[in-house]
Symmetry: C2
Subunit: 465 residues, 2 copies
């Protein structure tokens, strides 16, 4: 990388911003270092300064100054991204949404909420407590809704409730020219013009800064139950899920965990799950509905060599199970205390999922790397947690080869190089292989909407063909 100072003219932008924001413009190295790093293994690339605006008008003034000076802007939420999405590759100004954390309105009759971008998913659900409504999207981290929209995040509920793609109704964004747009109205449907909402969702901060979002909410189900079932192999588990969908069972969550993950969980969470390919299920519906769903699921699982099917309507038992699932990263970390986790994901058509996982497991074995697998199997999406010593070059090279093979396999199976983590700067080469000719329209859109390339430069794809 060439020195950012040679490419961009930061001093005037910093001076103008300091004049406007005084002490609120943070330039201390210690602060900037922290903002240049996400939860991935990618090295930190600190911005020149960090600022926490309090409203859209402040964001607008920052964007105008930066656009005039061609200074990069890196939008920042909770910093929990996994592909270096928040790294300030060319320096610039990090806009942190931490102070824009108000829940503006909850519209009970319309099943939606309007929030500022810094609101986290747990904060929103805490606020909704006793309202009878909830927000379902649950990536591993307690991410901000702005960051989740930017990354097109999803989680364990996506099989039933969709990802951020399906659950963002409107985005208020400050564009590169300083205009503040609303991508849509608050109606559930619209056939009015280009779908700017979906264009902004997943754009990873490269098209504008989100200053408010309207998201869908759902009624809390009358009854929730959970189940766990062990399988002889991955095929049995995946086929169970395919048949459940064929049968029309409105499964709310279905998570696949492999032997190694169960070992890690048992050790970390003091549980006693069988250490074999396992599905964790959750059912939402009426009391009789969830019972029927569980009964049908057991029948289907039985036909796929499932065993030890355990069903519970007890909330405590259910929460314990999902807590164990949510702690998988911590649990897996203990499989190799001296290593770091490199978390990556792919997503394939579900009919190819078992094959994709099995071939990847073969590669893991060959590479002699510890790498548990957990999957949102209803979506065909799975995560590989590579436990590697980042100082060990041979090991990193072996992990990279393994990773490369997994992604290429997913692409060959008509799948995608990332189901929910985004591209950041970690998967740019894979995106090229995935999209081919379709990168060019993306690039043309970026160049048209952000001609000075101020928004999160160096992410998703390269500026030049």
């Amino acid at each position: 990388m060439t020195s950012p100072q040679k490419q961009f003219n930061y001093d005037p932008a910093l001076e103008e911003l300091a004049e406007l924001f005084g002490d609120r413009l943070k330039t201390a190295n210690a602060v900037c270092e922290q903002y240049g790093k996400d939860e991935s293994f990618h090295p930190s690339a600190p911005p020149h300064a960090v600022i926490q605006p309090e409203n859209a008008a402040e964001v607008q003034s920052i964007v105008k100054i930066c656009n005039r000076n061609k200074t990069p802007i890196i939008p920042h939420g909770a910093g929990t991204s996994l592909e270096g999405n928040v790294a300030a590759l060319r320096g610039g100004i990090c806009i942190d949404s931490a102070r824009m954390d108000s829940i503006i309105s909850v519209n009970h009759g319309d099943f939606d909420a309007v929030v500022q971008p810094g609101v986290t998913r747990r904060q929103l659900n805490q606020h909704l407590k006793n309202s009878g409504l909830f927000f379902p999207i649950d990536p591993g981290a307690d991410a901000t809704l702005g960051g989740m929209a930017a990354t097109r995040a999803s989680g364990t509920n996506a099989v039933r409730y969709g990802s951020m793609r399906e659950n963002v109704v409107n985005i208020e964004a400050v564009m590169a020219d300083g205009s503040i747009i609303q991508t849509a109205k608050r109606s559930r449907k619209s056939a009015a013009g280009y779908d700017l909402t979906r264009l902004m969702v997943g754009s990873e901060g490269t098209l504008g800064f989100f200053t408010a979002l309207t998201v869908k909410l759902y009624p809390l189900p009358e009854a929730i139950s959970a189940a766990v079932c062990t399988f002889e192999n991955i095929e049995g588990a995946v086929n169970t899920v395919i048949e459940m969908i064929q049968y029309g069972i409105p499964i709310a969550r279905v998570e696949l965990l492999d032997e190694l993950t169960l070992q890690a969980i048992n050790r970390y969470s003091q549980t006693e799950y069988a250490e074999a390919p396992t599905l964790f299920f959750e059912f939402h519906g009426s009391q009789s509905g969830v019972e029927e769903q569980a009964r049908l699921t057991q029948e289907i699982a039985d036909q796929n060599q499932g065993s030890q099917f355990k069903w519970t309507s007890n909330a405590e038992q259910r929460n314990k199970m999902w807590r164990a699932r949510h702690d998988v990263a911590w649990a897996c970390k203990l499989l190799r205390p001296d290593g770091q986790i490199w978390s990556t994901d792919v997503c394939v058509p579900i009919s190819r999922l078992a094959e994709c996982i099995n071939q990847t497991r073969k590669d893991i074995e060959d590479a002699k790397i510890i790498a548990p697998i957990v999957g949102h199997v209803g979506d065909g999406n799975f995560h590989l947690l590579l436990l590697v010593d980042h100082e060990n070059k041979d090991e990193i090279a072996a992990a990279e080869t393994l990773h490369h093979k997994m992604v290429m396999r997913a692409l060959e199976m008509d799948g995608t190089c990332t189901g929910e983590h985004g591209i950041g700067y970690g998967k740019i080469e894979f995106l090229k292989l995935e999209h081919g000719e379709a990168i060019q329209p993306m690039r043309l859109i970026k160049q048209a909407l952000d001609p000075n390339n101020i928004f999160n430069p160096g992410k998703i794809f390269e500026w030049h063909r």
Copy 2:
């Protein structure tokens, strides 16, 4: 409108195309007239020629010739659009998808199908017969899937299954530069790059020509039942639906019909429905599930002054009810045999729906126009069928005023000027009012992806600011 010949150079394009396609390039006035008109009241604007390519390579050669000569291309499906979407406002070449009507593959395990753009929704469902799968999106007409994707169509099932926005997985499109892109892979989720799929869905043929689509399929429910219920007023009906959603009833269809619509139906379909605000319901699920859904719905309806709740699991009775609903346009036409139907729609947050409909009904009364209302109430979307004599200027003026008030009301309620018909050239002024500053990014995208403005020029928004 200025003469198209002055703006564009058609002769060389026509010559090149004639050389390549011979007799297949149709230029007869009678043919062109027919292709310049959709099912709306907008006057015909015929293209200079019509061609029916058979594959993507032929489309590509047409696009290259047209782009080189700056000749407009108007994509054409079944011609059932309602806002002049297919009118060749500046002449040019109409590309009709009629011969690209093959179902390429049905992927049973992945619940999707790959089709050419000229496949109609009924053709696809006919093909899926006995497969246990179906495609749910059902606009009034038997539209092509290419056209439905272009218009972001929906229909009576959208409350449960979503619109084309949620149900298109991938689009193969020929772009203005002649490149053939795939907007996505076939996996259910992806966080890889800009969402070009959703950008193309609803772009009304202004960004490219669709040569193939992958769409989602759903398992046929084990049981389907239907119900009908009469209400004292619109509020009772709408509140019933809101409470059903709050209760988590996974309603598959819920259609609102006003008194006048029921009068028309009774006369046309020889039925004996009460001539009052009415909901038609459909429930999908297991046998016990649909019974439970109907029972809960009746309880909720009772609390909202619903009466004459009739439930049926009989397929013949159910089909008769939906046949009556689908024949609404024909039935309403008979309310005024000397008039024509001007069909328009808006969509608002569901909490405002009853108010929006009631105020519109008041305007209808004042305007002395016959205008029944039917609504996809679960989405907050309703249609107004204005029965007017298009030769009568006073009447048209009154209808336009009424229409204008309805759209402005929807926008004030944070709704949209069209829930499912699109903008075409009939609602360009309303789109400006709806999107304001957000038109500019749409325009920049159009100019970047189609710099010669060849794809369906004059639609959705104006080229110049």
